[in-house]
Structures are given as structure tokens and as C-alpha cells.
Amino acid sequence: MSRIWSNLFGEPTHPASGAGGPAARVRLMTHPVASRRQMRSAVRVTVIGLWGLVACAGPEIPSQVRTVDRPPALSPDYVDLIIPPNIAPLNFHIREAGTEFVVRYTDAHGREVRQRCPNGDCRMNVGAWRRLLARSRGGVLLVDVYAHEGDLGWVRFRRITHKVAVDSIDAYIVYRLLTPNRQVATIKGVYQRSLEGFARQRLISERDGTFQCFNCHTFYRHDPSRFFFHVRGAHAGTVFINHGKTRKVDTRAGTMYRPIAYAAWHPDGRHIAGTLNEFAGCFPATERRYFSHTVEKRGDLVVYDLDANRITTDASVFGDDFVETHPCWSPDGYWIYFVRSREQALITHCDLDSFRADLMRIHCDVERNQWGPPETVLACAAQGRSAAFPRPSPDGRFLAFILSSRGTYPITEPSSQLCLMNLGTGAWVLADSANSAFSESYPRWSANGRWMSFLSNRGDARSALPYFAYVDRCGTVHRPFVLPQHDPSWFTEFTDSYNTVELVRGRVPLSEYALFRAMRKDAVPASIQGAPQVDAVTQATIRRRSERRAMDEGDRQGHPSGNPGVAKIRNRRH
């Protein structure tokens, strides 16, 4: 743009080129040939400017309108929201009868932008939208929708009032796209998408079958240049990216029966808490939808030291009595929050329903490799509910998690709902304004802790889409909105599913090819320390009997040395 401008007015492209500045411009303007050229350019700019002004003025608002006291039916339902000041245009489709549609946006200073919506599709210009938001930051953005209903004339629906928050949301999301609910998942790729616009870039793809599966990309404190992800199947390993440097590690070492799956960075940026998971499930016949009812039938918690390339764990979280999964660190790095269910035999489909997990935490001193006893944060299994995906807010005041009626895989579970716990008081509430009758899962906080993203399949009960909700200082989660798309009709055709949506501060600075090369590297095996022996065939913990004896002993005596978590759960049950 600056180049075009400089060409028009004779300014040098680069100010340091020596010919710039006012003097140079005067010199050029006085030259007869140059002045003629400048005149022509000026006229051109004026014409374009006038045309732009006319275009920006938009269509006329009809003077005689009938008012309807309800908001218009929009798809997506962008009505009365709290939105970030840096979000992409909330384009929508008006699902009302009408031959013509006009939308008027009014910012906090009373300036208007009017727009005609052919066929009810309202697509806002990104630049105009940004200006609207910038002027409305901390205030409100009003949206009036007018529809021309043929002989009935123009109709104005109740005004939509968006509150524009002062706090921005992270600029990008990184997510995985896959086809949902198939027995063998087909992963289309990992993408990054700007939340401030509609730009999307593929980061990882299967490259015509070179890779089969890649998952669980995890960023260090929303930093786009520091993250890791796993590769399964061919070229298996965990790929670490640190400011352009790549490293691939095989975390399936020693007694690790599986590589690390769910994982989270320690605040020191050196340690990673992860779980080893095995899944089982079924495709119900009687449910009125086709989906996979999945549980984690095996899971154990470990901590990986990035510098030492070493995995450590503790017998209290590594064994076949409990299934530990979904780990994450508290912001101070003192606790690992995770969920834990009792391991049990899977014989019939009813057994899947009995998998219910408690919300737990365990102290782990990563420097000294000292583990405390697991503590129950919320004993929900005894109440017939199951917790999943705990995630503390960056300020450490709240803990977002998912609560459902069964299982540890809430992505397909309609009863799963978003909850928020006040870590200071231990009180928790359902985030009612964010929940729906469908599945909610995978909550993530923005870097400033004011926004939360989560996945929900409320659109069609199958395809999970990212939703964003404002969380105020009191911990109230406000009404969420779905990730905006340039073409509103996109929502009517999209049948894939978003997965593992992570909020990051900026664009991941790596090309797809660089990640591809990193994925093809040979993985360096990690060493493991302190993990119980696991049988190679049955994958059962070999120390199981002695561990259990010790645990039962501790349980009987009420002594915390055995396994206080179990004792606590059992006490609560009694």
C-alpha cells in the first residue's frame, strides 16, 4: 500500500533511500512532467476516494419500517455477545423471510456502517470491522437487521447489542481437523487460524500417507514458537519445537507401554507432565445418533525432563489400579491437576458407563523429583459424574473442567458440560451460559485469562467447533460464540470436526515443510526412572501385588503413606 502511495505522490519507497522527504517531493512536484503525472494520480485518488466514500456509506436505511420485538434468527447465532476487540468479522446468514436485507452497525461513538446482505449473507469487510471494534472497545457495538418482506414492507428486528471487551483474545488458534467418530480416525491436518481475520495455514498434514496420525500439539504459555506434538504410526515420536530448533524424542521407553499422549508444560519450560493412554469403546446401536462411546481404559502419569531426556514417575500415579489422564500444571508449577478413575474390566457396554473420574491433583517437585500423595480435588465419581480436561486459569484463581455423566472422553458425550471451580474456595459451578444440550469439551484459557475456548458439537450433535466465551473477573463465563468464518454458509456444509484447539499469541513461525522434516527425523529414545515394571504382554504393572498390599494396608490404617487419594475417596463414599 505504501508503495502504491509513494508511486502516486512521487515519494521514495524507502525513506532511507536519500531522495525522500518534503524537499524531494517539492522538487518532483515542480517538474512539469512530474506535476502532470502527479495531477493525474491525484485525480485518480480523488475518484477512488469518492467512490470509496459512497461505497462505505452503504445502502439507505428505509424510513418506514415495522418493528419486530425479537432478535433476528441468525446463523451462527451472533446475538448479544461479549466479543474481543480483535476478533474477525462475525459474518452471519440471516435466517428470516425476505427479499432484501440490510444490516447497520453502530459503534460506541455513534458512527454507522451499513451493509447490504445479498441472500441474507452478511460478510463484513475486515478493515471496516476492525475500525468498528477499535472505536467500540470497552463499549457496545449495535447491530440492526432490516429485512424487506415483499408486500409487507421493511421489518426491523430487535437490536443486537454486542459488548466489546477491553481484553483481547490471543491472535491465533492451532487446531487439528479430523473426521469424527470413525473407528479409525482420519486426520486431515493441524492448522493455524487467525482469530483477527480469516487466514488459515496448514502446519502438519499427512503428506499423501507419509504420516498416519499426529496429535496433542501443546504450546508453552501460548508461545507460538515453542511447542511439541506427537506423531503416531510411521515416524512415531514427540517433536519439540523451540524457536525454530527441532528435536524428536521417543517417549515410549523402558516400561512405558505407550508414548506420552495428553501433556502439559511446566511453567519452567523444561518439564512436561504427560499421561500414557489406551482407549476402548463401542458404537452404540440404540442411540439415536452414530458416535463412538470411548473411555480411557488405561492411563498413567509421568513427567518428562526435556533437558535430561528423562521420564520420571511415581507408583501412586503409575499402576493398573487407576486410570490417570488429562494432566496440567498449576500456574506456579506446584501441582499437577489430572483426573483419575478406577481401572475396571470392560466386558459389556454397560461397563463403559461405569468409568467415572475424580478431579485430582498431586504435588510434584520437578527439581528434586519428589512426588506428594495424590489429593482429591472433586470426588465426582461417587456422585455418578465424571470429570475431564482440568485447566487452571493463568492467574491460578479458577479451574475450568468438564463434567459429564460418564467416561473420560467428553468429546462425544452429550452430557458433558463446562464447569468452573474457584480454587480459593473449592466451590464450583456449571458455566450455564456457555453450556448446551450437547457435548462441551477441551477448555482452554487465553493468555490473559479473560477468554476461554472450548469445543462444542451443539451445531449438529457431531461436528465439534471452537467456541469462545468471555470470563469476567468474578469467574462468570458469558455467552459463547463460534469461530467466525468468512462465508457464513460454511457452517451448513462442514461435516468434519475441530479437535485440540489451542490459543496462541501469534502465528507459528514455522513452515509446513520445516515441521515435515522435523517429523521425519529419527526419534531419540528417552530414559525412564522410577516407573514400575510393566509386563510386556499383558501390560500389567508387575509390582502391582505389593503395591496393592501396601495401599490396602495404608487404607486400613487410614495412614496417608499408602494411597491417601484412595482413602479419601473411600471415606467420602462411606
Partner: protein
């Protein structure tokens, strides 16, 4: 002028012949190809965009656009004929430029492509490469020609992928042998063009597209090509320089005015006949005939066709399984499955009853029929699963998108159904189906009325859909509402499996619930066989059986063990002499496929439900299955399960 007119006439004749061949003799290829994802096309921007991120994607897009016309056989034949004729016209032009006026040389590859490749990507790729080559060679002035060639090569590579190498090779050969430019030009241009061609795939691989190294060089060409394709590519590459090659005397000999017409026509006809004999598949043609009747729901016509012996020779391949499926389905629709199924060949056992083939690729390819079956039986989730898996693994087809929409609608998932209906609305020939579904979506009362019968029959017994076809049939047959078709299919499955005879006998008790007043013929035979095999008294069983069945059973018992009942060839391949005993004792069929521990898991489910009879039967089956798996280790998928009477 006269020669040119004759050429045009010959090309028109060629087009007419091509249309006729594909409208009549090879119509089955068009019909079957229309059922594949290769014919699925949407008029949307997003559909176009998904083809643009790899070389040759545009070619695939155009191919799909053309193949959507396969909806009508005549239109498909027209597309195939026109493509070959246009290719013929371009090759004639190139041959004329090379100083060859014979029609034979350019039309020979067209005949090959027409018959072997029909409307495949190869034909389109060759056509595009030849068209670009002709356009380039039509330019006057070597410098312009060279410049244009260098400039369009990246575009050509992006549009037609590896077929651009044909363009490069032909043009380089042509320019290298051109006498209109100096030797430096002749040497420099091919070098530059080849260098550019060598650079394009690495650039595409490294910076432009998320593709593998292999794809960068070879997509969308089928790899490895058959040997005749190699010959074709070499032939096409040298066609523009044909006049300057040492084989020119042959060309002149062929092109001599006196003998040319008859000789060339004779050679072309011979080549056509040889290629037709090579490409024609009677098995697939029969399958297509059955398929047409199946989609038209002409069940009696299917049985008539089966009685005429059509398909009797195609018992071994996938075609045999499909014919068995069509016939069994027609029998079930006419209420005769359990009375006369063994009068028709059952070469694939349970795997032909509910298509479940040993090859996963075939299984997914034919999932549409399994989906149809479960949709008819009202197991909506199983129907959805087949269509969805096919959609994900192979790609969307018109049938699987329609099925997904229907299933979502029956399940009451209107939002999801609306998405699939929107997809169908963007097709050319399936908008009417979409409109029909859209009307149901917009009128919930009508939908409730029209779908109530289906919704009433949905399974009420929870069994994992992933446990295979037996689990799905059990879930249906044990439902609260009697489901006659499901019950028949379940018993037929058990009879065909042989090892599930106890389960079949136990399930027969429920036949009265679905409207049977007496045992069907094959059930009587199975009952007698079972009682006899267990050593229990046949008296009670005989009371339930018709005299004809008793006679055939006695006849069976009198036969020596080793000999087949009627010594027919068909009996060893599942074609019976009409009784279940013969099938059980003498026919060799592939073992049923049940997922690992499937029987055990099914047994556990019934145990949890306190259904001890089914639990016992399934446990027996689990044991037998384990034993037969151990016995046939190494060939678990295709092991022959011969009935072994205890």
C-alpha cells in the same frame, strides 16, 4: 481437402462407434463407475478448492465433472466417445504436422485408451497434454513457441501433474528434430525445458504443496502403469516426430492411397476386437444387470435372472459375492429367503449374505450395499456406519451422502441431515432427492408421519455396532418390535455360518413372533440335521417337518459321507442341490468374519442380560471360532469352513 474431409468423416464414425460400444456392450462400466467417488461432483467453491493444492488436481476435478454425466448411460457413453474423439482429432493434427496423413497411427492409441481406460484420468491427462502440445506447435516462430512452452509448463504441471512430462518429452523431441532453427536452438531449448521440468516437482514438494516426493513426480498418474501404458506413452511422445523417424517407410506403406482405407480399417478393427476381448468382463456385466434390477427394486426379475443361470460362473470373485447378495436380498424381499436360498449358489457364505469381504478395500467399496441392507432392516446406526466409513476412506459418493442424510433424518438429527441435504443440493442430478428430504426437514409433522414406521423398528437391544454383522442382526432380531426381515437374515446368517447352527435352531423359536405359522424349509432341514448330529431323537423334529423335507433328509442320510449329493460342480463352491444338508456337508465357503473376541463379547452381553440360551450358543461359537482360527492360522480371512458333522 478430400483427405481432410475423409479424416473428419472417420473421426465422426469413430465417435459414433465409441458411443455405441459404451451405450451397449460396455455400459456396465459406466454404471459401476458412477457409484464410485470418481463421479462425485459438487458445484461449490470449496469443492473446487480442495483439488487445487496438489499437482494434477485440476485434471481430477475436470474428470469428476465429466463423470457426473454417467448418471445416464447414454450421456456417459457420449462423454467417453467425445473424449476419445477429441483426443483423436488432436493426434491427427499432430500427426499431420509430422507429415503423416494416415488415420491409423493417431487412432490406434485412441482405441486403446477408449477401451482400456474409458474416461479415466489417463485419457484426460493425455488429452490435455496433447492439446497443449498441439497449441504450442501451432505457434509460428521458434522463439515464441519456446517462450510460451517455458511459461506454460508450470501451469501445465499444476493442472495435469505428471502428464506434463509427456508434453515436455514430445516438444523436446519435436524441437530437437526441427530443421527450421539452428542447432544451438535445437539443443538449448530442450535442455532448458527439461531443466525446468526437473525443477518443478522439487519446488512443489518443498514450497508449494503438502505432498510426498512420489506424488510430486507422478501424480495423478496411476503407478506403476501397465506395460501397455508405457508403450502408449512412448508412442505418443514420438508421434509429433513420426515423419522424421526411420519407421517412416512403414507409415508411407500404410498411408498409400490404394490400400490405405481397407487396410487401416482392418487393422483398427482387429485392434479393437483384441482390446475388447481383453477388457470385457462378463462377470461385471452380470453384476451391473443385477445392480440395475436391485436399484429398481425388481425382486422377481432378479430371481428370474438368477434362475437363468446368470452369475453362476462368477462364483469365485467379488462378483460372486455380489450376485449372492442380490439374490438373497431379492429372496428376502419376496419372503422366500429361508425357503429357497440354498437353491441358489451361496459361494461366499455369510460374507455374501451381508457383504463382508476379506479385502478391506472391497469391503469399503461395496459398503453401499451393506448400508442399504441395514437401512432396510432399520438398523440405522449400522447403515450410517457403512456409509460413513466409505465416505471417509474412499470419498463421497451420491449414494453414501444420500444415506447419511436419510439416517440422520430417521435419527432425528435434523441439523446434520440438513448438511448432507445441502451437499446433495449442490449436485447436478440429485437435487430432486435433496428436495424430497428438504421437505421432510422443513415439515417435522410430515417427517414424523413418514418416518414413524422406520423409527418404530430401531434396535432396542444395545450391542456394539463394531461387533460386526452378527451383532447388528442380533440387536435387530431381539428388538421389542418384531422385525421379520431381520429375523430371516439372522437365521440365514447362522445357517450359512454352519458353526452357528445351535444359535440358528434357538432363533427359530422366535419365527412365530414375526408371523411364521410353520417352519420354513431350510429351518426344517437345519433342525433335522442338528437333532441328528446331537444324537437326540428325531421324532419330535420330524413332526415339524414337511414330507418333502423328510424325504430329502433321509436321502441325505443314505448317501456315503465322502460323496457329494449330486456330484455337481456347483456344490463344492456353495452351489447346492437345493437343501441345507448339502450346503452344510459339502460346500466350501469362506469363514465368517467376526472381529477379534467378537463372539465372546456378544456372549458376555447376553449373559449380562440374563439370556442364557444365547449366551451358551455364542460361547460355543466363540470356542469353535477360536479353534478354526487356530487351525487356519496364516489364512484366517479366506479359510474354507466345511461343515463337519459331530
Amino acid at each position: 481437402m478430400a483427405g481432410r474431409r475423409a479424416q473428419w468423416g472417420a473421426l465422426l464414425l469413430f465417435a459414433a462407434a465409441a458411443w455405441l460400444v459404451y451405450d451397449q456392450l460396455l455400459a456396465y462400466r459406466i454404471a459401476l463407475q458412477y457409484q464410485t467417488p470418481a463421479a462425485f461432483f459438487l458445484f461449490t467453491r470449496s469443492f473446487l478448492l480442495q483439488w487445487l493444492d496438489h499437482p494434477g488436481g485440476l485434471l481430477l476435478y475436470v474428470g469428476r465433472f465429466l463423470r457426473q454425466f454417467f448418471h445416464f448411460i447414454w450421456a456417459g457413453a457420449l462423454v467417453v466417445g467425445l473424449m476419445s474423439t477429441v483426443l483423436g482429432a488432436v493426434l491427427v493434427f499432430l500427426a499431420r504436422r509430422a507429415g503423416n496423413r494416415s488415420l491409423l497411427l493417431p487412432l490406434l492409441p485412441c482405441v486403446y485408451l477408449l477401451i482400456i481406460h474409458a474416461a479415466s484420468t489417463t485419457v484426460l491427462g493425455v488429452l490435455m497434454a496433447a492439446a497443449f502440445l498441439a497449441a504450442c506447435m501451432a505457434l509460428r516462430g521458434a522463439a515464441i513457441r519456446h517462450l510460451v512452452a517455458c511459461l506454460i509448463l508450470p501451469l501445465l504441471y499444476w493442472s495435469i501433474g505428471a502428464f506434463a512430462w509427456l508434453f515436455v518429452l514430445s516438444l523436446c523431441l519435436s524441437e530437437a528434430r526441427s530443421e527450421s532453427v539452428g542447432w544451438r536452438h535445437r539443443l538449448a531449448f530442450p535442455l532448458i525445458l527439461v531443466l525446468e521440468a526437473l525443477l518443478l516437482p522439487p519446488i512443489a514438494y518443498r514450497w508449494l504443496f503438502p505432498i510426498s516426493w512420489h506424488t510430486a513426480w507422478l501424480a495423478p498418474m496411476r503407478w506403476p502403469p501397465v506395460p501397455l501404458d508405457w508403450v502408449l506413452f512412448a508412442y505418443l511422445a514420438v508421434l509429433p516426430v513420426w515423419g522424421t523417424l526411420p519407421v517412416v517407410p512403414l507409415s508411407r506403406w500404410l498411408g498409400a492411397p490404394r490400400r490405405s482405407a481397407v487396410l487401416q480399417a482392418g487393422i483398427l478393427l482387429c485392434a479393437t476386437a483384441v482390446l475388447l476381448a481383453q477388457a470385457y468382463s462378463p462377470g461385471l456385466r452380470i453384476v451391473a444387470r443385477y445392480d440395475r434390477l436391485y436399484h429398481a427394486q425388481r425382486w422377481e426379475a432378479i430371481l428370474t435372472l438368477a434362475n437363468s443361470g446368470a452369475g453362476a460362473t462368477t462364483t469365485a470373485g467379488v462378483e460372486g459375492a455380489m450376485v449372492q447378495f442380490f439374490v438373497d436380498h431379492a429372496l428376502c424381499r419376496t419372503g422366500r429367503l429361508l425357503d429357497s436360498m440354498f437353491q441358489y449358489p451361496q459361494p461366499w457364505g455369510t460374507r455374501g449374505l451381508v457383504l463382508d469381504l476379506p479385502s478391506y478395500a472391497d469391503d469399503v467399496r461395496l459398503a453401499e450395499y451393506t448400508s442399504d441392507l441395514f437401512y432396510t432392516l432399520e438398523h440405522i446406526n449400522a447403515a450410517y456406519r457403512c456409509a460413513y466409513d466409505q465416505c471417509v476412506v474412499q470419498g463421497r459418493t451420491y449414494a453414501n451422502v444420500l444415506r447419511l442424510a436419510q439416517c440422520s433424518l430417521v435419527n432425528g438429527d435434523d441439523a446434520l441431515a440438513a448438511k448432507y441435504v445441502t451437499v446433495l443440493e449442490h449436485t447436478l442430478f440429485h437435487r430432486d432427492q435433496a428436495q424430497r428430504l428438504r421437505r421432510l426437514l422443513t415439515d417435522p409433522q410430515r417427517a414424523a408421519r413418514e418416518l414413524s414406521a422406520q423409527r418404530r423398528l430401531l434396535p432396542t437391544v444395545e450391542l456394539d455396532v463394531g461387533l460386526g454383522n452378527l451383532g447388528a442382526l442380533l440387536a435387530l432380531a431381539r428388538g421389542r418390535v418384531p422385525n421379520r426381515m431381520a429375523m430371516e437374515y439372522l437365521i440365514a446368517w447362522c445357517l450359512l455360518d454352519k458353526q452357528a447352527l445351535p444359535l440358528a435352531v434357538d432363533e427359530m423359536l422366535a419365527l412365530r413372533r414375526v408371523g411364521y405359522t410353520q417352519l420354513p424349509v431350510h429351518c426344517q432341514e437345519a433342525l433335522l440335521l442338528w437333532c441328528w448330529a446331537r444324537g437326540t431323537s428325531l421324532k419330535r423334529a420330524r413332526k415339524l417337518c414337511a414330507p418333502g423335507v423328510l424325504r430329502s433328509f433321509d436321502r441325505f442320510l443314505r448317501q456315503p459321507d465322502a460323496a457329494a449329493p449330486s456330484a455337481t460342480e456347483g456344490s463344492s463352491a456353495g452351489g447346492g442341490a437345493g437343501t441345507y444338508m448339502d450346503y452344510y456337508a459339502y460346500s466350501m465357503v469362506p469363514a465368517s468374519y467376526v472381529p477379534a473376541h467378537g463372539f465372546q463379547r456378544l456372549a458376555d452381553e447376553f449373559l449380562a442380560r440374563a439370556d442364557t440360551v444365547a449366551f451358551r450358543d455364542l460361547l460355543v461359537q466363540a470356542r469353535l471360532h477360536r479353534r478354526s482360527r487356530a487351525r487356519n492360522r496364516g489364512h484366517p480371512q479366506r479359510s474354507a469352513a466345511t461343515g463337519s458333522l459331530p
